[in-house]
Amino acid sequence: MRVPVVVAARDVRMTYQIGSTRVEALRGISLDVSAGEFLLLMGPSGSGKTTLLSILGGILTPTSGAVVACGTELTRLRRGALARFRLLNIGFVFQGFNLFSALTAAENVQLALGLKGDKVDARDKACELLEEVGLGEKCERLPADLSAGEKQRVAIARALAGQPRLIMADEPTASLDSDNGKHVTMMMRRLAKSHGCSVLTVTHDPRIMEVADRVLHIEDGALRG
């Protein structure tokens, strides 16, 4: 039985131009992400990991190449349509958590639910998701009153809101100590599996390699091996 592909990239190239200097961040990358897959992206700093993640997640448009995600050819979408695609299909987890500091944990998740058009019982659903990341008791806390690990768990709950097909995480554990990092990664893996979404996560942490379904190595803008 063939596993369905959630994201397919073909010969993706990305060139940044700053003034007269050109940086070739990606030099022809092709890859498939299967449904439900927990995929790890590793590589040295500046190798193009963030750029690749941004392109596959519909945040950046590549200079050339094709990206088909969830059945949509991303490179053909305009700005507004691309934003809508991201909203409905992709959950993001950032290194710096990027929670809304004025909103409580529940409101952070609720806002994402609301944006995705899931407004009925948004409050209850937000609390359920927080329950799943082990923060049922801390729904009403502001981000400032949460530890780094807790913040990232709120961010994961927010990313899971609205049943996305894919979660994109860029160094989600870089701001956490290694125990917390491991804990958060395991949690992300477990929840992705139970919610049936694929995860593409960038990390430097070799200990996470063991739990990944597959590990991709990127160097100098190209996949290795």
């Binding site: 993640l53 941004s54 993001f92 290194q95 990027n98 809304f100 944006l115």
Partner: protein, 439 residues
């Protein structure tokens, strides 16, 4: 939907209060500086708008209320015979000087009017104080100008020409900011105060002016080239003398509300019979009274305010200040909103990365802008109103803040907050959404 804009605004209370103080400052700046300008214009036309006359008649060429050449008093009787005139009263206005105790001089304009008339009165003065104007050598002044006359209240005295004038009453809110101190008196008293020839034949106004300036009599005599002039002036009671000085004759001998036919008056105020076409009535008045022009109350007020606005630099300067106030206020309000968006640029970036539609950004910032404009407006306008009240009560200076101008200020501030917020959001939208991935 979670009220992201409102919650973000109220999150940091200290910062919010500082921003609110800024908006309140902007509101105050706009309200007070435009209020000063509007109040100035209103104050210049106070003597006109306070009058219930429909038409003002004066000699041709009058540029503004305080400057007009005289016409004869008997024009009043003639005006009363014109068809459509229900009532007519005369008014006299001339420049002079008040010599207070300690010989302090104050530049004044004496306004002579009929204290029992109905077409003109110097603001809120009780009837018994108006009645006192029939006494010789009496006058009323705005209470904010008592200090200028070097007196403390009713009963204070000073000299106008040769007359020892007693202040018999006060009024409030009648004094144009830019004018010489207005002194209100009966027609006959005003005529007496202003007469430059009360010493028959010889003394000229120059003599009297010089005398008022307290020249040494000898010196004055030398200056005039006639030794006996000083003696003459002393005899006439114009100069204080070593010898006891005879008091000048009281100014009022006849009915104080009337003058002699050949006397000077400045304006004839006309009340039309009900239903009269004012344009036609103006035409009849000017053809009946040779060499005159007639203006409706509004024309008279417009003429006077536009004189101050256009022909003097005072209007220009105050207009400029009001304009600068408007610009500064707008900039301050705009800056505050812009800064608040920029401060939260990462959060906007996150929203954008998640895939929030552009409309959400505008909704968030518009909500913030309106909250800030409204909450900043309230203290801003209250403080402005207090300042305006204080200025009027203590100085008689009008800072005009009407409900309309207050609402307009609110709209300007709100529009500016929204506009600068939108401007800032557009910047936020242009930011590379990939920024959220950079630590």
């Amino acid at each position: 939907m979670v009220p992201l804009g409102r919650k973000t605004l109220f999150k940091d209370v200290a910062r919010f209060l500082v921003a609110q103080a800024g908006v309140a400052f902007a509101v105050g700046l706009i309200a007070i500086e435009t209020g000063i300008y509007l109040g100035f214009i209103q104050s210049t036309v106070l003597p006109i708008t306070e009058s219930s006359a429909d038409i003002w008649v004066c000699t041709r060429g009058m540029p503004y209320f305080e400057l007009t050449l005289p016409m004869r008093y008997d024009a009043l009787a003639k005006a009363r015979t014109v068809t459509g005139v229900r009532r007519a009263e005369a008014m006299l206005i001339k420049t002079s000087a008040w010599r207070g105790t300690g010989h302090k001089l104050e530049y004044i304009r004496v306004i002579g009017f009929d204290p029992h008339g109905v077409l003109w009165s110097p603001g809120p003065v009780p009837a018994e104080e108006l009645d006192r104007l029939f006494a010789p050598d009496s006058a009323i002044v705005d209470d904010t100008k008592l200090g200028n006359l070097n007196i403390t209240g009713v009963g204070g005295t000073g000299k106008i020409g040769v007359h020892d004038v007693r202040i018999v009453g006060t009024t409030h809110g009648t004094q144009p900011v830019v004018s010489a101190t207005l002194i209100y008196a009966s027609m006959r008293n005003a005529k007496a105060y202003l007469s430059m020839t009360s010493a028959p034949g010889v003394a000229t106004s120059t003599d009297i002016n010089a005398a008022q300036a307290e020249l040494d009599p000898e010196e004055l005599a030398r200056y005039l080239g006639a030794v006996d002039v000083s003696k003459y002036l002393v005899e006439q009671g114009i100069l204080p003398a070593p010898a006891p000085t005879p008091k000048p004759a009281p100014a009022v001998a006849q009915d104080p509300s009337t003058l002699d036919p050949g006397d000077d008056v400045s304006y004839i105020l006309v009340q039309a019979q009900p239903g009269q076409d004012l344009t036609a009535l103006k035409g009849r008045l000017t053809s009946e009274l040779r060499g005159t022009a007639a203006y409706t109350r509004k024309e008279m007020a417009d003429r006077t305010s536009s004189y101050w606005v256009k022909r003097t630099n005072i209007g220009f300067i105050l207009g400029l200040i009001a304009f600068v106030g408007l610009i500064v206020g707008i900039t301050v309000a705009g800056q505050i909103l812009y800064t608040s968006v920029v401060e939260h640029i990462t959060e906007y970036g996150t929203l954008r990365a998640i895939g929030a539609p552009d409309s959400l950004f505008y909704k968030v910032v518009a909500e913030q802008a309106l909250i800030m404009a409204c909450l900043g407006f309230i203290p801003g306008i209250v403080i402005s109103a207090i300042v305006a009240h204080w200025a009027f009560a203590t100085r008689g200076v009008i800072i005009l803040i009407t409900p309309e101008s207050a609402v307009l200020t609110l709209l300007i501030i709100a529009a500016m907050c929204v506009a600068s917020g939108i401007f800032a959001v557009q910047r936020a939208l242009r930011v590379d959404p990939a920024m959220v991935f950079r630590g």
